[in-house]
Amino acid sequence: MDLNQLVKGKDGDKEFLLGNEATVRGAIEAGVSIAATYPGTPTSEIGNIFSVLAKDAGIFFEFSINEKVAMEVGASSSASGLKTLVFMKHVGLNVASDSFMSAVYTGTPGGMVVLVADEPSMFSSQNEQDTRNYARLANCPVLEPSNPQEIKDMMKYGYELSREFSIPVIIRTTTRVSHMRGVVEFEDISDEEVFENSNNNNQHLQRDSSPVHWKKGFFKKNKQQFVPVPQNAGIMHEKLIAKMIDINKVSNSSKLNTVFEFNNSGNKRKLGLIAGGSAFNYAYDVINGDNLEMDILKLGFTYPFPKNLVLDFVKDLDGIIVVEEVDPIVEKEILVILGEAGLNIPVYGKINGTFPMPYEYNCNIVRDSINKIINENGNDLDNSKELELNKDLTNLKNNLPDRLPTLCAGCSHRATYFGVRRAMDEMGIANEDLIFSSDIGCYTLGISPPYETTDYLLSMGASIGDACGFSAGTNQYIVSFIGDSTFFHGGIPQLINGVHNKHRFVVTVLDNRTTGMTGGQPHPGLPVDGMGDFAPEISIEKIAKASECEFVETINPMLLKQTVDTYKRALKHDGVAVIIAKHPCTLIKGLKRKKPMTINQDKCNNCKICIDKLACPAISVVNEKVIIDHLVCKGCAVCVQVCDERAIVGKKN
């Protein structure tokens, strides 16, 4: 598909879109003016697309320094009358939550959608928290799409709802919805103006040196609405509660909550199933495919919980099946409804053990779980036949080599890790006497042998905060690793904390000049912004020096001797030492390709240091000989410096 179709596409056009692409089309159709994010799987593609299309779509887009700032950008520009979109992965909302809680109090008159993608099964995340809990914590409405078409449609509806009630709206997706591709039918693009109250007040304020490509709003002052100091906040909370009661009337009659009838007219035990999001898809395919006589209530507008509508669905049932991923939230809501109504109907979900608590579902899990309920009644579902492989193939399958993600050939993190390990050896520091506190990024892959440079991990930026605690709490050496983007995101207060509170540790900023793990987005340390324009480049070295670090050195980690020497001095430093290991990520486009390396087999003594200690994917052992795959090798020459026999040399043509 040509991405430009997301801007140019007309009413009735159909495209095969990724959920994240449908998000962008939804934003464009709704007339969004401002979009902000910090990249995180599984939402990263949304930002990547905005960074290409924002100008053509009349949208201001930024990669914010972190999710909290993105939330603030969205909230305040919405307070200025604009439709705004903030999007992030589930754990991003933890970072943004402080301002999010207040934005629900102040309201968002222009309209704001907060799209949050949860990650059941944690494909690229540190936990599987459930964003629907935040909706309850903050008092914020939630829509849950099941596929790309619904994402687009709910984006549009989300802005209607948000503007009508002046409240942020969460769109909760999961990986399987954000990364599902399906046919999406377009509608026309809104030509609606900014929120009426803030319109037409801008004429006398043309302060931009050149006209910008997006609409501007106007912030109309109102302390009672926008300043939650104690005397205002109480009133705001009361208003919010009243708002949510009104919105509950909307959710109770919403078309997003619909019943799929499956011929539930027999005179046996009457079961009904309730599901939303991705879980609905699995449940639907099982009930439809297995011809089960069981109606499904699909919930799309899930908070404020549509109590009346759900009560209507369940009141004549003999059993209620709840299919939801991550936490048993709908299940608890239903138990409350049954309690209030004095109904005694069994509820089959996670709480009573019918469905598994952790990890994402699929049709097989849902079928097996429903089987347990139907078995109570003596009926068994016809399950698909297992395929029996013969002994040889079973053996082969059970002993397949793992294929785990690894640091790329030519990745500078590998050189840094090798360097710090060698410095430890030369200083006689035992592995157990040095703690590696790591952070969120490609470099977390250092957890694997032979590097094993990840001993402790909490969250974005925490490697430095954790180092403060280890410094206060132990006498061990401490080396923390944090990426450049992650340093900006959440490492700066921690660094200042470390210096001010006189802790002692070594911080390594792995400055690979991009946000690597999520696919190469810019960050404040680069001279380019989210829309591809020039931007001031913020120096990590200057931040460290301004934070009164006495040891700040920038190195090229690929020069091993220097790397080892710098770590040795840093580990002796009494205080916070900052090493900035600066070398561009090998995946950055347009980098000059260097000549690959090769092994002089006459000199190689098969010591395998390059294999055992460096573990570069380009180097392997074939027929008892160490070889370098010239297609994989990036010519970084770190292996040349590792080889004591000088057996590794540049490949001649």
Partner: protein, 200 residues
């Protein structure tokens, strides 16, 4: 077990960087243009650092994008051991199309593991399945002009199979809509080479 008319499940797997997602999008778009209800599941992120990548394409009015156990009509593996790793999706009638050139995992030495013999993989698969199609995709891609055309060779080989619901013409049209026009000729050649390797 879903027994639906027009249902066709395609499981595609291999190693990050082989063009698996692009290939899947091309098939999906072609299916859409031929009037099928189609959905595709992709996994991005961590898996792109040399890890396993898989996509699941489902035609025929499904809502869930994940193929059930033993329910793939065809498995297209870009790498031999990845074909074996995917066998939970297979039943005895599943067609197994795979590239015979291994990509050796870089962690083999760290974990003290061995890469199995490809001939052994082929003979084991043949003993268990009725439709096993090893494709020398690397060789054919280089003949077409570049190793980068590997995914189009495998796509061509997939389309050639009896029962594959989407026409070659629709696939070629979708390929042109998704790949740089500079390489259309090479990729077209690659599709044909893959196609003919099965038909001949």
């Amino acid at each position: 077990m879903l027994n639906k008319e027009n249902s066709y499940n395609i499981y595609i797997c291999g190693v990050g960087g082989q063009g698996i997602i692009k290939t899947s999008v091309i098939i999906g778009e072609a299916a859409m243009n031929e009037g099928y209800e189609v959905i595709l599941s992709e996994i991005h992120g961590m898996s792109q650092r040399g890890g396993v990548v898989s996509t699941e394409l489902k035609l025929g009015g499904y809502k869930s994008s994940v193929i059930e156990k033993n329910n793939a009509d065809i498995i297209l593996a870009f790498e031999p051991i990845e074909a074996v790793r995917a066998l939970d999706k297979a039943n005895e009638d599943t067609k197994i199309v795979f590239n015979t050139s291994p990509i050796i995992p870089s962690t083999l030495n760290q974990f003290n593991q061995n890469y199995p013999d490809v001939k052994e993989i082929v003979s084991n698969l043949n003993e268990n399945f009725n439709f096993v199609y090893p494709v020398e995709a690397e060789k054919l891609a280089i003949e077409a002009g570049s190793l980068l055309a590997l995914n189009m060779v495998l796509l061509g080989a997939t389309v050639a199979h009896e029962g594959f619901p989407i026409s070659k013409e629709a696939i070629i049209k979708a390929m042109k809509n998704n790949l740089n026009s500079k390489f259309h000729e090479m990729n077209l050649d690659a599709i044909e080479k893959g196609y003919n390797s099965v038909i001949d």
